[in-house]
């Protein structure tokens, strides 16, 4: 059901929700951007709907709410283990179509792929998603090429409209609160973009021979393996285990998992000094093929959702979408040399 709501009414609804949920949305942080004098749009907990940045793309994704950068798994003494507590409240997350598509990728790894992840599941079960419609495309977005520009699987959708908001609600539990607070009921369809300036072509028929292409060498020196492209990506899920102990009592500590990046040194290190993919170009190859080739072989659809954040953030101005567009030529090159 669709509704028209005023700002004040939205905030009243926020108050009701806040008993059960923490509300997360992209918020503009002035002067905190990746480059000097730029702002940064990041996810934070909000109380007021006016805190939400509706006009820009968020630099970081929502994923840290579901997969915190550092997450305590349990506390330990030498022989005892105590599981970390789950956040009491659930979460309501405001996000765009590409990011809601990314949730499916997170679920694929954390809820399926062999084992169910206890820590992910217990947060995920209590999350509701509110889609923010996209009236226009942002810089570097290529969601249309990836087929992630539109989505129906939201709990509710929202868009600023005149001085208030338009909502499309799909969650029966929220019908009452929306109809109580709304100005009027009407049909609402969230907007979505149908064209981006950036377009990518993931060629059919990529084979592993593409590893041998010369195209990767360019990144050996251009890429500085900072890993920012992974940390902003809504579909990257890797982590490393870490044991820490509190210095005042050496016997007590905790085991955590912290976000990891396949671009950063140490990702493949094994004891005795062994490491794979020492060159940055090979790391780029590993990342790119995972996003648009081998993930699909395993799970049936591409991992990358075309949000363009990796392009936005790269300090070396490396374009991931450009890289995808070189794959076709790279396949031709390795076929010729075969």
């Amino acid at each position: 059901m669709g509704y028209n709501l005023e700002k004040a009414s939205m905030n009243d609804i926020f108050k009701t929700w806040s008993e059960e949920y923490a509300i997360y949305a992209p918020k503009c942080l002035v002067g905190k951007g990746a480059f000097s004098d730029t702002d940064s749009v990041r996810y934070s907990e909000i109380q007021d709907i006016e805190e939400i940045e509706f006009d820009k793309k968020s630099d970081f994704s929502f994923k840290e709410i579901l997969t915190p950068i550092s997450q305590t798994l349990f506390y330990f003494t030498e022989e005892e283990i105590k599981e970390a507590e789950v956040p009491k409240k659930g979460a309501i997350i405001f996000l765009r179509s590409c990011d809601l598509h990314a949730v499916k990728r997170l679920d694929e790894i954390y809820l399926k792929n062999g084992f169910e992840d206890y820590y992910y599941k217990r947060i995920r079960e209590k999350v509701k998603f509110i889609l923010m419609g996209c009236a226009y495309s942002y810089e570097n977005c290529f969601c249309v090429s990836m087929g992630t520009n539109q989505i129906d699987s939201y709990d509710a959708a929202i868009e600023p409209y005149k001085k208030g908001y338009r909502i499309d609600n799909k969650l029966p539990a929220w019908e009452e609160v929306f109809s109580e607070h709304c100005e009027k009921e009407l049909e609402v369809t969230p907007s979505y973009v149908t064209e981006n300036i950036v377009k990518v072509n993931v060629p059919e028929g990529i084979t592993l021979d593409i590893v041998k292409s010369e195209m990767w060498n360019e990144y050996d020196s251009r890429c500085i393996n900072c890993g920012r492209c992974n940390f902003v990506c809504p579909t990257c899920t890797c982590f490393t285990m870490q044991d820490v102990f509190y210095t005042d009592n050496g016997k007590v500590g905790e085991r955590r998992r912290v976000a990891a990046s396949c671009m950063v040194d140490g990702y493949t290190d094994v004891a005795g000094g062994g490491a794979y993919r020492k060159k940055n170009g090979q790391r780029m190859r590993f990342k790119v093929l995972h996003k648009v080739y081998d993930y699909k072989k395993r799970f049936g659809y591409h991992m990358c959702v075309g949000c363009g954040r990796c392009d936005d953030v790269c300090p070396e101005y490396i374009s991931f979408s450009n890289c995808i567009n070189k794959l076709e030529g790279a396949m031709a090159e390795v076929k010729k040399n075969a």
Partner: protein, 264 residues
């Protein structure tokens, strides 16, 4: 909801010292059935976790043969009988002994590579009638590095055993030479149908599989076991992924038709 990350305590029942840096820890275990080639995350709070293969499986007991190489394994070597370690697992696919039944089987192991495959060797040593023939080629750097030395004399009764070292000063009970040098000398009735398991350091596995193929082994009759960095063992952390394969879930044991396509 089950929490796979919470480890359980296991008591060290016995410590068998093979070399100065390689010990077998015999640990108490009650839980899911375990296959040779599977592994556990062995941990000590404060120091972390390390994936370690089971090197022996018996009633209520699991063996882990551990090489002392760093943070976690150094600390494990500080523990002794009566102490406890944390475990979680079993993880990975492991070897399926049914793949080798009624065949001529050759197991070629380099160094600690013998531990993941030791369960398979034990199985056919106890059930020699279930294979048409069995050869074990085990290579170590020097006589001092030999693992499971007391097992070899037992195994010799039921299979062909070639124990070799890369170099040695005295003429001890073993031969001298890389495991690959013994491949052409394998006495097999039907090489096209014979099966092989190769486990060891990456270079050793590479040259050994090449040697076997050259002798006429079929790719689909060769199995290898891979090691990669692993932080979770359960398909989540991403570190072990190669192409569309998660070594912790789909491996670490791979048929060579799949294993040869794993490009890091």
């Amino acid at each position: 909801m089950h929490n796979e990350y919470i480890p359980f305590l296991s008591e060290i029942k016995e410590v068998i010292k093979h070399t100065s840096i390689e010990y077998t820890f015999r640990m108490t275990y009650e839980g899911k059935e375990v296959k040779p080639g599977q592994f556990f995350e062995v941990s000590i709070p404060k120091f972390g976790e390390a994936p370690i293969s089971v090197s022996g499986i018996s009633e209520g007991i699991l063996d882990f043969t551990i090489r002392k190489v760093g943070k976690v394994t150094d600390e494990i070597f500080e523990r002794y009988v009566g102490d406890k370690l944390f475990l979680r697992g079993p993880y990975g696919n492991g070897f399926d002994v049914n793949d080798y039944k009624n065949s001529e089987l050759v197991v070629i192991a380099g160094g600690t590579g013998l531990s993941p495959v030791r369960g398979v060797v034990e199985y056919f040593s106890e059930h020699p009638q279930e294979v048409k023939g069995m050869t074990l080629v085990a290579g170590f750097k020097t006589p001092k590095d030999i693992l499971f030395i007391e097992d070899f004399s037992r195994w010799k009764k039921n299979m062909e055993v070639i124990l070799t070292v890369d170099c040695a000063e005295d003429d001890s009970a073993c031969r001298i030479g890389l495991v690959t040098e013994f491949i052409p000398q394998l006495k097999l009735k039907d090489i096209k149908e014979a099966k092989a398991i190769v486990v060891g350091p990456p270079m050793m596995m590479h040259f050994t599989t090449q040697g076997l193929l050259k002798e006429g082994f079929r790719e689909e009759n060769i199995w290898i076991s891979q090691e990669r960095k692993m932080c979770c063992g359960i398909g989540k952390c991403g570190h072990c992924k190669i192409d569309d394969t998660y070594v912790c879930l789909d491996g670490p044991v791979f048929n060579y038709t799949k294993g040869r396509n794993l490009i890091d």
